[in-house]
C-alpha cells in the first residue's frame, strides 16, 4: 500500500500492519529523516507531482513483488514543510525469509529516490539530484 501525506507516521503501527499471522518470517523497515543540512535553514519543503507520484510508487511496489517472494509492502512519503529530525519516508517489507525482505526494502527506497516525482527544497534552495543515487538505482535496474 502507498500513501502520500502531510502528517507524520508511526513506525510501530506500520510495523504491526506488515505482520501476517503465522507466515511472516522477517520484516525490514527503512525510515528516512530530515538531517541537519545547513546553518542557514532549519526546514525543508517537499513538493510532488500528484497522481504521477502514486502511479510510480505503485509500479515500484509491483516490481518488488515480482522480484522477491514478499507478503506485505508499504511506502509512505510525506510532503509539505518538514523540520530537522522529522520523518520523511517509510518503506516496509514483510516476507517469509529475511533476504527477500532486505533486498526488496533496499530496492524500493533506491528506485523511489530516482524515479518518484518528489523535489526537496532546503530553505529557498532546491536540492540537486545526486549521481550516486542514480548509480545505485542503475545497479538494480541492470539485475
Amino acid at each position: 500500500m502507498i500513501t502520500i501525506q502531510k502528517h507524520d507516521f508511526d513506525v510501530a503501527h506500520e510495523y504491526q500492519n506488515l505482520l501476517q499471522e503465522n507466515t511472516t518470517g522477517g520484516v525490514v523497515i527503512f525510515s528516512g529523516l530530515v538531517r541537519d543540512f545547513s546553518e542557514h535553514h532549519d526546514h525543508l519543503t517537499i513538493q510532488h507531482y500528484p497522481n504521477m507520484t502514486e502511479s510510480v510508487l505503485e509500479k515500484i511496489e509491483a516490481e518488488a513483488q515480482q522480484r522477491w517472494p514478499l507478503l506485505e509492502t508499504r511506502i509512505i512519503h510525506r510532503v509539505g514543510k518538514l523540520s530537522v529530525n522529522d520523518q520523511i519516508v517509510f518503506v516496509g517489507v514483510s516476507s517469509a525469509h529475511r533476504k527477500a525482505a532486505f533486498s526488496a526494502c533496499e530496492y524500493m527506497i533506491d528506485i523511489l529516490k530516482t524515479q518518484a516525482p518528489f523535489w526537496k527544497k532546503e530553505g529557498d534552495e532546491w536540492v540537486e539530484a545526486k549521481d550516486s543515487d542514480n548509480d545505485v538505482a542503475d545497479t538494480w535496474l541492470k539485475k
Partner: protein, 86 residues
C-alpha cells in the same frame, strides 16, 4: 479548444519559467512528438531552452516520455528537474 493539452511545470523549473501550468494549443497536425513540443516552447525565450537540456524530465500522461513519445489533444504533459525525494 479541441487541440489543447495541459502542461505542468514543477520545482526549480516552475520557478525559472514563472509558471506552474498552462493550456497549450497544438497546431495542426495535432499529434506531435515530445521533442517537437519542447522545440516549440523553447522558441519563447532563452529561459525556455532549459526544456531541451538532457537533465530535464518530461512525462506524458504520468509516464516518463522519450523524445519520440506522441502528444495528442487532451494529454497532460509535465516538465521537471531530476527528482530528489526519499
Amino acid at each position: 479548444m479541441d487541440n489543447e493539452i495541459n502542461i505542468l511545470y514543477f520545482a526549480s523549473l516552475a520557478e525559472s519559467l514563472g509558471r506552474d501550468d498552462e493550456k497549450f494549443e497544438l497546431q495542426t497536425p495535432s499529434i506531435i512528438s515530445s521533442l517537437q513540443l519542447k522545440e516549440q516552447l523553447a522558441t519563447r525565450g532563452p529561459e525556455w531552452k532549459i526544456l531541451l537540456a538532457p537533465s530535464t524530465r518530461c512525462s506524458v500522461n504520468l509516464v516518463i516520455s522519450s523524445d519520440d513519445t506522441e502528444i495528442k489533444p487532451g494529454d497532460e504533459v509535465a516538465f521537471f528537474p531530476p527528482v530528489t525525494g526519499g
